[in-house]
């Protein structure tokens, strides 16, 4: 069933404004999506009616807040089809989720000369935590190469695998290129040598159906704010047996079973990894974002976004000086490009003057940019509320800007 995009747009107050005297066209969704009214209402409602610290409260408000907080955990479980809600840990975001795995799983199970494999197209947040770990432990970081289209070379990946491989941490969908990686194949191959797999789902979760049990990944990290939810909130999914084998991340309240000055015993998962008062309001509001996605249905969202990307490619391909970056056959709705002879920052600023919000630069993927021999790109990324008429404006804008250097 096709979606009523006008009606969907009506749910997002921020979209209905002018910037620089032009109607806002928001194409920076890979950085963060806008929030539907229901999410804003949930935030206000929590602070207006239910504000209370969760767990162990012997009063009605604490009880209510706890219930809503845990409801979101159940929704996240359903959203990624995890076996049980205890496998869902709330964090600050994808970055913290990955760091949690590096600092707990990594420090316990990865040692000298062990290997960690990542790909060329990783976000810095899926590079730096592993570099830090490798430096500390004397482990080795291996990189899966990619082709010109921005796809991993699977045979090269297989060559990297060995009994020394302890972890493969790979992006599900690339933020800079949009490439969807063949993660099921990656996971199976990694498991065959006994390695665990972490999926960076920051860019995939808003577009693709996720079933962590079918994928059989050991960890998955993603952020609420790229899923129409609030900022400052993320999720780490982990298989129960893996999470239970890991030491805690931060020490403090909530994560303990019993504390004496001699010895502390730790709480069960997920609480073992949620020290301190969590981001209660944002967790509660996140449920409204997940409900919004569920109501529309991922397949319908994906179909709409795929049609936007196909239309964008079609409109852009004949523009003189237009250089697409990342032309994988399987992509989420990310259009990364350069204009011959122009700096992406200039292109972005000129599009901004037309009311079009895009991102420019290296997109926190400097090694990937180096692979392509470029400094950065202009990235337009589409969400469910974007339209073909907005893409017409983008194409007209890009064509006009390109003429500046490509007469």
């Amino acid at each position: 069933m096709s979606l009523n995009i006008d009606q969907i747009r009506g749910l997002f107050p921020v979209l209905h404004q002018e910037v620089h005297g032009k109607p806002l066209i928001y194409f920076d969704n890979a950085a963060t999506t806008q929030k539907p009214q229901a999410v804003l209402d949930a935030l206000t409602n929590y602070y207006g009616n239910d504000n209370s610290n969760i767990h162990r409260g012997a009063h009605a408000l604490a009880d209510r807040a706890t219930r809503y907080y845990e409801n979101t955990r159940d929704s996240v479980r359903e959203f990624i089809h995890a076996r049980e809600s205890a496998e869902i840990i709330f964090t600050k975001g994808t970055t913290e989720s990955i760091n949690l795995v590096a600092q707990t799983f990594g420090r316990k199970f990865i040692g000298k000369n062990d290997q960690i494999i990542i790909s060329t197209m990783e976000h810095h947040s899926n590079i730096v935590p592993w570099q830090m770990l490798c430096e500390e432990k004397g482990a080795i970081l291996k990189i899966i190469p990619i082709n010109e289209a921005g796809e991993i070379l699977f045979e090269e990946f297989e060559k990297l695998l060995s009994p020394k491989t302890k972890l493969v941490s790979i992006v599900h969908a690339s933020n800079a290129l949009g490439t969807i990686n063949p993660v099921k194949k990656v996971i199976d191959a990694a498991h065959a040598v006994g390695a665990k797999v972490l999926l960076d789902g920051a860019q995939s979760t808003s577009h693709l159906e996720i079933n962590v049990q079918e994928l059989d990944c050991d960890f998955m990290a993603f952020s609420a704010h790229k899923l129409y939810g609030p900022t400052g909130l993320g999720v780490l999914y982990g298989k129960r047996e893996v999470l239970e084998s890991m030491p805690p991340f931060l020490g403090g309240g909530e994560m303990i079973k019993e504390v004496t000055f001699e010895k502390t015993t730790y709480n069960d998962i997920p609480f073992k990894f949620e020290a301190g008062t969590p981001n209660i309001a944002d967790v509660i509001a996140f449920k409204s974002a997940l409900d919004f996605i569920k109501e529309l249905g991922k397949p319908a969202i994906k179909a709409h976004e795929d049609s936007l990307l196909a239309y964008a490619n079609e409109r852009m391909k004949d523009i003189k000086g237009f250089i697409p970056v990342g032309t994988a056959s399987d992509k989420v709705s990310v259009l990364s490009f350069n204009i011959n002879g122009m700096h992406p920052f200039d292109v972005g600023q000129m599009l901004d003057a037309k009311g079009i919000a895009v991102r420019t630069g290296h997109h926190c993927t400097q090694p990937l940019m180096k692979r392509f021999g470029i400094e950065g790109t202009v990235r337009a990324s589409f969400a469910v509320y974007n339209t073909k008429s907005e893409l017409d404006k983008l194409a007209e804008g890009v064509a006009q800007i390109a003429r500046f250097k490509n007469k």
């Binding site: 200039d346 600023q349 003057a353 500046f404």
Partner: protein, 143 residues
């Protein structure tokens, strides 16, 4: 040669013609970048890059008959346009003129909202570097 004040007045009235239209203003700034004199290739090196700019900006300065001659370049066209404005105001002047210059045209044309905060910081870094050169040449002249 017109005074620093006169040139700033000229620039302000040029931008007034463009009015509030951000798009044509940015195009105009980019066009201005084309007026920069050719930057010597051998000076395009790390030590001539201005720190604090997001885009790359190279700046060098020479003293000719007690006046400072600036040359600059950038890898982005908007930045080239901005630096061409600064050079137009400050080029071929005595160090003390440059040091005491009140570059009010930037605020008067509302440059901050045209180019955004990142580039405004870069613009401040360019001005600081140009004044540093002036200070260095003044110190040398007085020695």
């Amino acid at each position: 040669m017109s005074s620093i004040k006169d040139i700033q007045e000229e620039i302000v009235s040029e931008f007034e013609i463009l009015g509030d239209d951000k798009e044509s203003t940015i195009f105009y700034i980019m066009e201005l970048g084309g007026s920069l004199e050719e930057f010597p290739e051998n000076e395009r090196k790390e030590e001539n890059i201005i720190k604090g700019c997001q885009s790359k900006v190279w700046l060098i300065a020479d003293e000719v008959n007690g006046k400072i001659h600036y040359q600059a370049d950038s890898n982005t066209d908007i930045t080239k346009g901005l630096i061409s404005l600064l050079i137009r105001v400050l080029n071929n002047r005595r160090p003390e003129e440059i040091l005491s210059a009140d570059l009010n045209f930037i605020d008067r044309i509302g440059m901050g909202s045209i180019i955004g905060s990142q580039r405004s910081n870069g613009l401040s870094a360019m001005i600081k570097q140009m004044k540093l050169y002036a200070y260095a040449f003044q110190t040398k002249q007085n020695a």
